[in-house]
Amino acid sequence: MKPVKVAQGNVLRYNFTERLVHWTAALSYIYLLLSGLAFWTPWMWWVAMMLGGGPVSRAVHPWMGLIFTAAVVYMYRMWLPDMRITPTDLEWRKTIRAYVRNEEEEMHPLQAARGFDRFAPVDRFNLGQKYLFWLMFWAGLTLLATGLVLWFSDYLPWSLRWLRLLSAFLHPVAFLFTVGGFIIHVYMGTAVVRGGFSSVIRGEVSESWARYHHRLWLDRVTGASAAKK
Protein backbone atom coordinates (compact mmCIF):
# COMPACT_ATOMS: atom_id res chain seq x y z
CA MET A 1 0.00 0.00 0.00
CA LYS A 2 1.25 3.48 -0.82
CA PRO A 3 2.12 5.49 2.26
CA VAL A 4 -0.75 7.89 2.93
CA LYS A 5 -0.75 10.20 5.91
CA VAL A 6 -3.41 9.28 8.41
CA ALA A 7 -4.20 10.73 11.81
CA GLN A 8 -2.53 9.29 14.91
CA GLY A 9 -4.22 6.06 15.97
CA ASN A 10 -5.97 5.65 12.64
CA VAL A 11 -5.44 3.38 9.65
CA LEU A 12 -6.34 3.95 6.02
CA ARG A 13 -9.25 1.72 5.01
CA TYR A 14 -10.24 3.12 1.61
CA ASN A 15 -7.87 5.13 -0.56
CA PHE A 16 -9.13 7.93 -2.80
CA THR A 17 -9.69 5.73 -5.86
CA GLU A 18 -11.66 3.24 -3.82
CA ARG A 19 -13.86 5.97 -2.39
CA LEU A 20 -14.40 7.58 -5.77
CA VAL A 21 -15.35 4.30 -7.38
CA HIS A 22 -17.62 3.44 -4.46
CA TRP A 23 -19.53 6.68 -4.72
CA THR A 24 -19.72 6.50 -8.48
CA ALA A 25 -21.44 3.14 -8.00
CA ALA A 26 -23.59 4.43 -5.15
CA LEU A 27 -24.86 7.59 -6.84
CA SER A 28 -25.48 5.98 -10.21
CA TYR A 29 -27.23 3.12 -8.39
CA ILE A 30 -29.50 5.52 -6.54
CA TYR A 31 -30.56 7.06 -9.85
CA LEU A 32 -31.14 3.60 -11.31
CA LEU A 33 -33.10 2.58 -8.23
CA LEU A 34 -35.35 5.63 -8.29
CA SER A 35 -36.06 5.61 -12.02
CA GLY A 36 -36.27 1.82 -11.96
CA LEU A 37 -38.85 1.86 -9.18
CA ALA A 38 -40.91 4.30 -11.26
CA PHE A 39 -40.93 1.81 -14.15
CA TRP A 40 -41.51 -1.04 -11.72
CA THR A 41 -44.75 0.15 -10.17
CA PRO A 42 -47.27 2.92 -10.88
CA TRP A 43 -47.20 3.65 -7.15
CA MET A 44 -43.75 5.14 -7.69
CA TRP A 45 -44.50 6.89 -10.99
CA TRP A 46 -44.26 10.29 -9.30
CA VAL A 47 -40.52 9.67 -8.94
CA ALA A 48 -40.16 9.69 -12.74
CA MET A 49 -42.01 13.01 -12.76
CA MET A 50 -39.48 14.41 -10.29
CA LEU A 51 -36.60 13.14 -12.44
CA GLY A 52 -37.80 15.14 -15.43
CA GLY A 53 -40.66 12.97 -16.69
CA GLY A 54 -41.05 9.44 -18.01
CA PRO A 55 -39.27 9.83 -21.37
CA VAL A 56 -36.29 11.60 -19.75
CA SER A 57 -36.00 8.91 -17.06
CA ARG A 58 -36.14 6.24 -19.74
CA ALA A 59 -33.47 8.00 -21.78
CA VAL A 60 -31.04 8.56 -18.88
CA HIS A 61 -31.54 5.21 -17.10
CA PRO A 62 -29.43 3.10 -19.50
CA TRP A 63 -26.52 5.56 -19.42
CA MET A 64 -26.49 5.45 -15.63
CA GLY A 65 -26.54 1.68 -15.97
CA LEU A 66 -23.34 1.84 -18.01
CA ILE A 67 -21.69 4.02 -15.35
CA PHE A 68 -22.88 1.71 -12.57
CA THR A 69 -21.63 -1.48 -14.18
CA ALA A 70 -18.34 0.17 -15.08
CA ALA A 71 -17.90 1.10 -11.41
CA VAL A 72 -18.81 -2.40 -10.26
CA VAL A 73 -16.39 -3.96 -12.73
CA TYR A 74 -13.70 -1.58 -11.48
CA MET A 75 -14.48 -2.69 -7.91
CA TYR A 76 -13.91 -6.23 -9.11
CA ARG A 77 -10.47 -5.22 -10.37
CA MET A 78 -9.69 -3.37 -7.15
CA TRP A 79 -11.08 -5.67 -4.54
CA LEU A 80 -11.04 -9.18 -5.98
CA PRO A 81 -8.17 -10.37 -3.73
CA ASP A 82 -10.03 -9.08 -0.67
CA MET A 83 -13.38 -10.49 -1.75
CA ARG A 84 -12.50 -14.15 -2.29
CA ILE A 85 -14.37 -16.26 0.22
CA THR A 86 -11.93 -18.08 2.53
CA PRO A 87 -12.24 -20.99 5.00
CA THR A 88 -12.10 -18.45 7.84
CA ASP A 89 -15.22 -16.81 6.38
CA LEU A 90 -17.03 -20.12 6.55
CA GLU A 91 -15.95 -20.39 10.20
CA TRP A 92 -17.35 -16.90 10.75
CA ARG A 93 -20.60 -17.83 9.09
CA LYS A 94 -21.32 -20.38 11.80
CA THR A 95 -21.80 -17.55 14.26
CA ILE A 96 -23.57 -15.15 11.91
CA ARG A 97 -26.68 -15.25 14.07
CA ALA A 98 -24.76 -13.76 16.96
CA TYR A 99 -23.24 -11.18 14.59
CA VAL A 100 -26.71 -10.11 13.50
CA ARG A 101 -27.75 -9.86 17.15
CA ASN A 102 -24.69 -7.71 18.00
CA GLU A 103 -23.40 -10.38 20.34
CA GLU A 104 -19.89 -10.58 18.97
CA GLU A 105 -18.15 -8.79 21.86
CA GLU A 106 -16.50 -12.13 22.48
CA MET A 107 -14.70 -11.69 19.19
CA HIS A 108 -12.68 -8.92 20.76
CA PRO A 109 -9.10 -10.02 21.45
CA LEU A 110 -9.36 -9.05 25.14
CA GLN A 111 -12.29 -11.40 25.44
CA ALA A 112 -10.54 -13.96 23.31
CA ALA A 113 -7.68 -14.03 25.79
CA ARG A 114 -10.24 -15.14 28.36
CA GLY A 115 -11.22 -18.06 26.16
CA PHE A 116 -14.33 -16.57 24.54
CA ASP A 117 -13.06 -16.75 20.99
CA ARG A 118 -16.33 -17.84 19.42
CA PHE A 119 -15.93 -15.63 16.38
CA ALA A 120 -13.49 -16.27 13.60
CA PRO A 121 -11.37 -13.16 12.97
CA VAL A 122 -12.25 -11.11 9.90
CA ASP A 123 -9.93 -9.88 7.17
CA ARG A 124 -10.55 -6.71 5.19
CA PHE A 125 -14.19 -7.61 4.55
CA ASN A 126 -16.50 -9.93 6.43
CA LEU A 127 -18.55 -12.58 4.71
CA GLY A 128 -21.65 -10.38 4.60
CA GLN A 129 -19.70 -7.65 2.81
CA LYS A 130 -18.30 -10.24 0.41
CA TYR A 131 -21.78 -11.53 -0.32
CA LEU A 132 -22.89 -7.98 -1.13
CA PHE A 133 -19.94 -7.57 -3.46
CA TRP A 134 -20.65 -10.78 -5.34
CA LEU A 135 -24.37 -10.06 -5.43
CA MET A 136 -23.75 -6.63 -6.93
CA PHE A 137 -21.19 -8.03 -9.35
CA TRP A 138 -23.34 -10.82 -10.78
CA ALA A 139 -26.58 -8.88 -10.62
CA GLY A 140 -24.77 -5.92 -12.19
CA LEU A 141 -23.62 -8.02 -15.14
CA THR A 142 -27.11 -9.51 -15.54
CA LEU A 143 -28.64 -6.05 -15.44
CA LEU A 144 -26.16 -4.83 -18.03
CA ALA A 145 -26.76 -7.73 -20.42
CA THR A 146 -30.56 -7.65 -20.14
CA GLY A 147 -30.56 -3.86 -20.06
CA LEU A 148 -28.68 -3.67 -23.35
CA VAL A 149 -31.28 -5.92 -24.95
CA LEU A 150 -34.10 -3.72 -23.63
CA TRP A 151 -32.26 -0.56 -24.62
CA PHE A 152 -32.16 -1.65 -28.26
CA SER A 153 -35.18 -3.93 -28.13
CA ASP A 154 -36.78 -2.31 -31.18
CA TYR A 155 -33.75 -3.29 -33.27
CA LEU A 156 -34.09 -6.96 -32.34
CA PRO A 157 -35.58 -9.15 -35.07
CA TRP A 158 -38.84 -10.97 -34.36
CA SER A 159 -37.01 -14.31 -34.42
CA LEU A 160 -35.13 -13.24 -31.27
CA ARG A 161 -38.35 -12.39 -29.48
CA TRP A 162 -37.52 -14.86 -26.69
CA LEU A 163 -34.43 -12.80 -25.86
CA ARG A 164 -36.55 -9.68 -25.43
CA LEU A 165 -38.99 -11.52 -23.17
CA LEU A 166 -36.22 -13.15 -21.15
CA SER A 167 -34.56 -9.77 -20.65
CA ALA A 168 -37.79 -8.04 -19.69
CA PHE A 169 -38.22 -10.74 -17.05
CA LEU A 170 -34.66 -11.09 -15.75
CA HIS A 171 -33.96 -7.36 -15.54
CA PRO A 172 -36.46 -6.78 -12.70
CA VAL A 173 -35.49 -10.07 -11.03
CA ALA A 174 -31.83 -9.02 -10.86
CA PHE A 175 -32.97 -5.54 -9.81
CA LEU A 176 -34.90 -6.99 -6.85
CA PHE A 177 -31.81 -8.86 -5.67
CA THR A 178 -29.76 -5.65 -5.73
CA VAL A 179 -32.48 -3.80 -3.82
CA GLY A 180 -32.34 -6.41 -1.07
CA GLY A 181 -28.55 -6.14 -0.91
CA PHE A 182 -28.69 -2.34 -1.08
CA ILE A 183 -31.15 -1.99 1.82
CA ILE A 184 -29.06 -4.20 4.08
CA HIS A 185 -25.79 -2.60 2.92
CA VAL A 186 -26.88 0.98 3.54
CA TYR A 187 -28.42 0.03 6.88
CA MET A 188 -25.33 -1.83 8.08
CA GLY A 189 -22.90 0.77 6.72
CA THR A 190 -24.61 3.79 8.23
CA ALA A 191 -26.67 2.71 11.25
CA VAL A 192 -25.16 -0.47 12.64
CA VAL A 193 -21.41 -0.37 11.98
CA ARG A 194 -20.66 3.14 13.18
CA GLY A 195 -17.43 4.42 11.70
CA GLY A 196 -17.98 2.60 8.42
CA PHE A 197 -19.64 5.56 6.75
CA SER A 198 -16.86 8.02 7.56
CA SER A 199 -14.34 5.44 6.34
CA VAL A 200 -15.90 5.29 2.89
CA ILE A 201 -16.07 9.12 2.84
CA ARG A 202 -12.72 10.17 4.33
CA GLY A 203 -10.90 6.85 4.16
CA GLU A 204 -9.78 6.39 7.75
CA VAL A 205 -10.85 4.22 10.66
CA SER A 206 -9.52 4.04 14.20
CA GLU A 207 -7.20 1.18 15.05
CA SER A 208 -9.61 -0.01 17.70
CA TRP A 209 -12.42 -0.07 15.11
CA ALA A 210 -10.23 -2.06 12.77
CA ARG A 211 -9.17 -4.45 15.53
CA TYR A 212 -12.77 -5.05 16.49
CA HIS A 213 -14.28 -5.48 13.03
CA HIS A 214 -11.36 -6.58 10.83
CA ARG A 215 -8.56 -7.95 12.99
CA LEU A 216 -6.77 -9.98 10.32
CA TRP A 217 -6.76 -6.97 8.03
CA LEU A 218 -5.36 -4.66 10.71
CA ASP A 219 -2.62 -7.15 11.48
CA ARG A 220 -1.85 -7.37 7.80
CA VAL A 221 -1.60 -3.63 7.13
CA THR A 222 0.28 -2.76 10.32
CA GLY A 223 2.57 -5.73 9.88
CA ALA A 224 1.75 -6.97 13.35
CA SER A 225 2.06 -10.70 13.88
CA ALA A 226 -0.59 -12.70 15.59
CA ALA A 227 1.85 -13.36 18.42
CA LYS A 228 2.09 -9.66 19.27
CA LYS A 229 -1.48 -9.32 20.48
Partner: protein, 294 residues
Amino acid sequence: MAGKVLEIRAMSASSTPAPGIRSAPVVAKLIDTSACIGCKACEVACQEWNDLPPETTVQIGTYQTMPDTTPSFWNLIKFNEHETDDGAFHWLLRKDQCMHCADPGCLKACPAPGAIVQYNNGIVDFQQDNCIGCGYCIAGCPFNVPKMSRQTKKVYKCTLCVDRVSVGLEPACIKACPTNCLTFGTKEVLLQKAKSRVAQLQTAGFLDAAVYDPPGVSGTGVVSILAFGKNPEAYGLPKDPSVSFAVEIWKGPLKWIGNIAIVGGIIGTFVHYLRFGPKHVPEDDKAKQADAGR
Protein backbone atom coordinates in the same frame (compact mmCIF):
# COMPACT_ATOMS: atom_id res chain seq x y z
CA MET B 1 -58.05 10.31 -28.96
CA ALA B 2 -61.71 9.84 -28.40
CA GLY B 3 -61.87 9.85 -24.64
CA LYS B 4 -64.91 12.11 -24.63
CA VAL B 5 -67.10 9.61 -26.42
CA LEU B 6 -65.54 6.32 -25.48
CA GLU B 7 -64.87 5.16 -21.96
CA ILE B 8 -61.64 3.49 -20.93
CA ARG B 9 -62.00 -0.11 -19.85
CA ALA B 10 -58.34 -0.86 -19.20
CA MET B 11 -55.29 1.35 -18.84
CA SER B 12 -51.58 0.54 -18.72
CA ALA B 13 -49.70 0.91 -15.40
CA SER B 14 -52.72 1.97 -13.44
CA SER B 15 -52.84 1.34 -9.70
CA THR B 16 -56.60 1.87 -9.61
CA PRO B 17 -59.36 0.39 -11.78
CA ALA B 18 -60.00 2.05 -15.13
CA PRO B 19 -62.97 4.43 -15.01
CA GLY B 20 -65.24 2.88 -17.64
CA ILE B 21 -68.52 1.46 -16.30
CA ARG B 22 -70.83 1.88 -19.29
CA SER B 23 -71.29 -1.17 -21.42
CA ALA B 24 -70.77 -0.83 -25.14
CA PRO B 25 -70.93 -3.38 -27.91
CA VAL B 26 -67.51 -4.75 -28.79
CA VAL B 27 -66.62 -3.78 -32.33
CA ALA B 28 -64.63 -5.88 -34.74
CA LYS B 29 -63.18 -5.97 -38.20
CA LEU B 30 -63.70 -9.14 -40.18
CA ILE B 31 -61.08 -10.02 -42.78
CA ASP B 32 -62.12 -12.67 -45.23
CA THR B 33 -58.65 -13.44 -46.53
CA SER B 34 -60.15 -15.67 -49.22
CA ALA B 35 -61.76 -12.61 -50.81
CA CYS B 36 -58.67 -10.41 -50.76
CA ILE B 37 -57.32 -9.57 -54.19
CA GLY B 38 -54.20 -7.78 -52.94
CA CYS B 39 -55.18 -4.41 -54.39
CA LYS B 40 -53.78 -2.50 -51.39
CA ALA B 41 -56.63 0.00 -51.35
CA CYS B 42 -56.70 -0.45 -47.56
CA GLU B 43 -53.02 0.46 -47.30
CA VAL B 44 -53.63 3.68 -49.16
CA ALA B 45 -56.79 4.50 -47.23
CA CYS B 46 -54.95 3.99 -43.93
CA GLN B 47 -52.09 6.31 -44.96
CA GLU B 48 -54.55 8.91 -46.21
CA TRP B 49 -56.96 8.98 -43.33
CA ASN B 50 -54.24 8.96 -40.68
CA ASP B 51 -52.20 11.62 -42.50
CA LEU B 52 -49.14 9.40 -42.37
CA PRO B 53 -46.08 10.45 -44.36
CA PRO B 54 -45.39 8.36 -47.43
CA GLU B 55 -43.13 5.37 -46.75
CA THR B 56 -40.56 4.17 -49.25
CA THR B 57 -41.60 0.88 -50.78
CA VAL B 58 -39.13 -1.98 -50.60
CA GLN B 59 -38.93 -4.66 -53.26
CA ILE B 60 -38.65 -8.06 -51.59
CA GLY B 61 -39.40 -10.22 -54.59
CA THR B 62 -43.17 -10.31 -54.21
CA TYR B 63 -45.97 -7.82 -54.71
CA GLN B 64 -45.73 -6.86 -51.03
CA THR B 65 -45.21 -3.13 -50.42
CA MET B 66 -42.43 -3.57 -47.85
CA PRO B 67 -41.16 -6.30 -45.51
CA ASP B 68 -42.99 -5.19 -42.39
CA THR B 69 -45.25 -2.53 -40.92
CA THR B 70 -43.44 0.59 -39.69
CA PRO B 71 -44.14 3.45 -37.26
CA SER B 72 -45.87 5.29 -40.09
CA PHE B 73 -47.27 2.32 -42.04
CA TRP B 74 -49.80 0.46 -39.92
CA ASN B 75 -51.60 -1.75 -42.39
CA LEU B 76 -49.66 -4.05 -44.69
CA ILE B 77 -50.99 -6.72 -47.02
CA LYS B 78 -48.63 -9.67 -46.77
CA PHE B 79 -48.24 -11.85 -49.86
CA ASN B 80 -47.54 -15.39 -48.67
CA GLU B 81 -46.94 -18.08 -51.24
CA HIS B 82 -48.27 -21.49 -50.31
CA GLU B 83 -48.16 -24.85 -52.01
CA THR B 84 -50.65 -27.52 -50.99
CA ASP B 85 -49.87 -31.25 -50.98
CA ASP B 86 -51.52 -31.73 -54.38
CA GLY B 87 -49.01 -29.27 -55.81
CA ALA B 88 -51.51 -26.43 -56.21
CA PHE B 89 -50.20 -22.91 -55.64
CA HIS B 90 -52.05 -20.42 -53.46
CA TRP B 91 -51.50 -16.81 -52.64
CA LEU B 92 -52.34 -16.41 -48.99
CA LEU B 93 -52.93 -12.72 -48.51
CA ARG B 94 -53.07 -11.44 -44.99
CA LYS B 95 -53.79 -8.03 -43.61
CA ASP B 96 -51.03 -7.38 -41.09
CA GLN B 97 -52.11 -4.85 -38.47
CA CYS B 98 -52.87 -4.60 -34.75
CA MET B 99 -55.29 -7.36 -33.76
CA HIS B 100 -56.91 -5.36 -30.96
CA CYS B 101 -56.65 -8.26 -28.52
CA ALA B 102 -59.30 -8.55 -25.82
CA ASP B 103 -56.41 -9.38 -23.48
CA PRO B 104 -53.64 -7.18 -24.89
CA GLY B 105 -50.08 -8.18 -24.00
CA CYS B 106 -48.84 -4.71 -24.96
CA LEU B 107 -51.03 -3.07 -22.35
CA LYS B 108 -50.01 -5.56 -19.68
CA ALA B 109 -46.31 -4.99 -20.29
CA CYS B 110 -46.41 -1.19 -20.48
CA PRO B 111 -44.97 0.68 -17.45
CA ALA B 112 -46.21 4.16 -18.36
CA PRO B 113 -49.60 5.12 -16.90
CA GLY B 114 -52.11 5.70 -19.68
CA ALA B 115 -49.72 5.08 -22.58
CA ILE B 116 -51.91 2.19 -23.74
CA VAL B 117 -55.67 2.15 -23.22
CA GLN B 118 -58.47 -0.18 -24.16
CA TYR B 119 -61.83 1.47 -24.77
CA ASN B 120 -65.07 -0.16 -23.75
CA ASN B 121 -65.74 -1.07 -27.36
CA GLY B 122 -62.55 -3.17 -27.32
CA ILE B 123 -60.26 -0.90 -29.34
CA VAL B 124 -56.67 -0.86 -28.06
CA ASP B 125 -55.04 2.52 -28.57
CA PHE B 126 -51.56 3.91 -27.91
CA GLN B 127 -51.46 7.40 -26.38
CA GLN B 128 -48.12 8.63 -27.66
CA ASP B 129 -48.05 11.65 -25.34
CA ASN B 130 -47.85 9.27 -22.35
CA CYS B 131 -45.41 6.85 -23.97
CA ILE B 132 -41.84 6.82 -22.63
CA GLY B 133 -40.38 4.77 -25.47
CA CYS B 134 -39.27 1.77 -23.45
CA GLY B 135 -40.39 -0.81 -25.99
CA TYR B 136 -41.90 -3.18 -23.42
CA CYS B 137 -45.08 -3.35 -25.53
CA ILE B 138 -42.96 -4.80 -28.35
CA ALA B 139 -42.01 -7.61 -25.97
CA GLY B 140 -45.58 -8.00 -24.76
CA CYS B 141 -47.32 -8.18 -28.16
CA PRO B 142 -47.63 -11.71 -29.58
CA PHE B 143 -48.19 -10.36 -33.12
CA ASN B 144 -45.14 -8.14 -33.69
CA VAL B 145 -47.30 -5.04 -34.06
CA PRO B 146 -45.98 -2.00 -32.10
CA LYS B 147 -43.26 -0.16 -34.01
CA MET B 148 -40.94 2.40 -32.43
CA SER B 149 -40.17 5.60 -34.28
CA ARG B 150 -36.45 6.38 -34.21
CA GLN B 151 -37.38 10.03 -34.50
CA THR B 152 -39.88 10.46 -31.68
CA LYS B 153 -38.97 7.41 -29.56
CA LYS B 154 -42.64 6.50 -29.29
CA VAL B 155 -44.52 3.48 -30.59
CA TYR B 156 -47.24 3.56 -33.22
CA LYS B 157 -49.76 1.11 -34.63
CA CYS B 158 -53.26 0.79 -36.08
CA THR B 159 -55.87 2.63 -34.00
CA LEU B 160 -58.77 0.78 -35.62
CA CYS B 161 -59.64 4.32 -36.71
CA VAL B 162 -60.95 5.00 -33.22
CA ASP B 163 -61.52 8.62 -34.24
CA ARG B 164 -63.91 7.47 -36.99
CA VAL B 165 -65.50 4.65 -35.01
CA SER B 166 -66.26 6.90 -32.05
CA VAL B 167 -68.41 9.11 -34.29
CA GLY B 168 -70.18 6.20 -35.94
CA LEU B 169 -68.06 5.75 -39.07
CA GLU B 170 -66.34 2.56 -40.16
CA PRO B 171 -62.53 2.39 -40.35
CA ALA B 172 -60.94 3.89 -43.47
CA CYS B 173 -59.69 0.55 -44.79
CA ILE B 174 -63.18 -0.96 -44.66
CA LYS B 175 -64.53 1.97 -46.62
CA ALA B 176 -61.88 1.50 -49.32
CA CYS B 177 -62.06 -2.29 -49.77
CA PRO B 178 -63.62 -3.11 -53.18
CA THR B 179 -64.37 -6.82 -52.59
CA ASN B 180 -66.18 -7.10 -49.28
CA CYS B 181 -63.11 -8.81 -47.92
CA LEU B 182 -63.28 -6.30 -45.07
CA THR B 183 -66.38 -5.70 -43.01
CA PHE B 184 -66.91 -3.83 -39.79
CA GLY B 185 -69.55 -4.18 -37.09
CA THR B 186 -70.19 -5.64 -33.68
CA LYS B 187 -68.12 -8.69 -32.99
CA GLU B 188 -71.16 -10.79 -32.21
CA VAL B 189 -72.74 -10.24 -35.62
CA LEU B 190 -69.45 -10.59 -37.49
CA LEU B 191 -68.70 -13.94 -35.86
CA GLN B 192 -72.05 -15.26 -37.15
CA LYS B 193 -71.21 -14.00 -40.58
CA ALA B 194 -67.75 -15.57 -40.38
CA LYS B 195 -69.24 -18.94 -39.47
CA SER B 196 -71.50 -19.08 -42.51
CA ARG B 197 -68.63 -18.01 -44.77
CA VAL B 198 -66.45 -20.79 -43.32
CA ALA B 199 -69.23 -23.30 -44.04
CA GLN B 200 -69.36 -21.95 -47.58
CA LEU B 201 -65.61 -22.38 -48.01
CA GLN B 202 -65.80 -25.90 -46.68
CA THR B 203 -68.42 -26.89 -49.21
CA ALA B 204 -66.19 -25.31 -51.84
CA GLY B 205 -63.45 -27.77 -50.89
CA PHE B 206 -61.42 -25.86 -48.31
CA LEU B 207 -62.08 -28.41 -45.58
CA ASP B 208 -59.69 -26.76 -43.11
CA ALA B 209 -61.30 -23.35 -43.40
CA ALA B 210 -61.66 -21.70 -39.98
CA VAL B 211 -62.16 -18.44 -38.13
CA TYR B 212 -58.99 -17.01 -36.56
CA ASP B 213 -60.04 -15.49 -33.25
CA PRO B 214 -57.31 -16.82 -30.93
CA PRO B 215 -58.57 -17.70 -27.44
CA GLY B 216 -55.04 -17.33 -25.97
CA VAL B 217 -55.55 -13.55 -26.00
CA SER B 218 -59.29 -13.91 -25.20
CA GLY B 219 -60.13 -13.29 -28.84
CA THR B 220 -59.24 -10.36 -31.06
CA GLY B 221 -61.04 -7.35 -32.44
CA VAL B 222 -59.64 -8.20 -35.84
CA VAL B 223 -61.04 -11.57 -36.87
CA SER B 224 -59.81 -13.41 -39.94
CA ILE B 225 -61.31 -16.12 -42.07
CA LEU B 226 -58.57 -18.46 -43.22
CA ALA B 227 -59.13 -20.98 -46.01
CA PHE B 228 -56.26 -23.00 -44.58
CA GLY B 229 -57.36 -22.52 -41.00
CA LYS B 230 -55.37 -25.47 -39.65
CA ASN B 231 -52.20 -23.74 -40.75
CA PRO B 232 -52.29 -20.07 -39.72
CA GLU B 233 -48.46 -20.05 -39.89
CA ALA B 234 -48.76 -20.20 -43.67
CA TYR B 235 -50.32 -16.74 -43.38
CA GLY B 236 -47.62 -15.57 -41.00
CA LEU B 237 -49.98 -15.77 -38.04
CA PRO B 238 -48.96 -17.55 -34.82
CA LYS B 239 -50.73 -20.86 -34.31
CA ASP B 240 -51.80 -20.35 -30.72
CA PRO B 241 -50.82 -16.86 -29.60
CA SER B 242 -51.07 -15.86 -25.96
CA VAL B 243 -49.63 -13.24 -23.67
CA SER B 244 -46.21 -14.69 -22.85
CA PHE B 245 -45.75 -16.59 -19.62
CA ALA B 246 -42.77 -14.33 -18.86
CA VAL B 247 -45.00 -11.23 -19.05
CA GLU B 248 -47.71 -12.83 -16.90
CA ILE B 249 -45.24 -13.73 -14.12
CA TRP B 250 -43.34 -10.47 -14.37
CA LYS B 251 -46.48 -8.34 -14.12
CA GLY B 252 -48.25 -10.74 -11.74
CA PRO B 253 -46.62 -12.69 -8.90
CA LEU B 254 -43.18 -11.09 -9.31
CA LYS B 255 -44.70 -7.68 -8.67
CA TRP B 256 -46.21 -8.82 -5.41
CA ILE B 257 -43.21 -10.79 -4.26
CA GLY B 258 -40.98 -7.82 -5.05
CA ASN B 259 -43.18 -5.23 -3.37
CA ILE B 260 -43.52 -7.34 -0.23
CA ALA B 261 -39.77 -7.98 -0.15
CA ILE B 262 -38.86 -4.30 -0.56
CA VAL B 263 -41.33 -3.04 2.04
CA GLY B 264 -40.50 -5.99 4.31
CA GLY B 265 -36.79 -5.26 3.99
CA ILE B 266 -37.22 -1.63 4.98
CA ILE B 267 -39.46 -2.50 7.93
CA GLY B 268 -37.12 -5.36 8.86
CA THR B 269 -34.03 -3.15 9.11
CA PHE B 270 -35.99 -0.60 11.11
CA VAL B 271 -37.22 -3.20 13.59
CA HIS B 272 -33.73 -4.67 13.78
CA TYR B 273 -32.40 -1.28 14.80
CA LEU B 274 -35.09 -0.88 17.46
CA ARG B 275 -34.23 -4.29 18.85
CA PHE B 276 -30.44 -4.47 18.51
CA GLY B 277 -29.19 -0.97 17.67
CA PRO B 278 -25.65 -0.19 16.61
CA LYS B 279 -22.55 -2.23 17.28
CA HIS B 280 -20.18 -0.97 19.97
CA VAL B 281 -16.42 -1.20 19.83
CA PRO B 282 -15.60 -1.84 23.52
CA GLU B 283 -12.22 -0.06 23.41
CA ASP B 284 -13.83 3.08 21.94
CA ASP B 285 -16.56 2.90 24.59
CA LYS B 286 -13.92 2.76 27.28
CA ALA B 287 -12.10 5.73 25.82
CA LYS B 288 -15.34 7.66 25.71
CA GLN B 289 -16.12 6.82 29.33
CA ALA B 290 -12.64 7.95 30.29
CA ASP B 291 -13.21 11.23 28.47
CA ALA B 292 -16.54 11.75 30.17
CA GLY B 293 -15.13 10.97 33.61
CA ARG B 294 -12.34 13.49 33.30
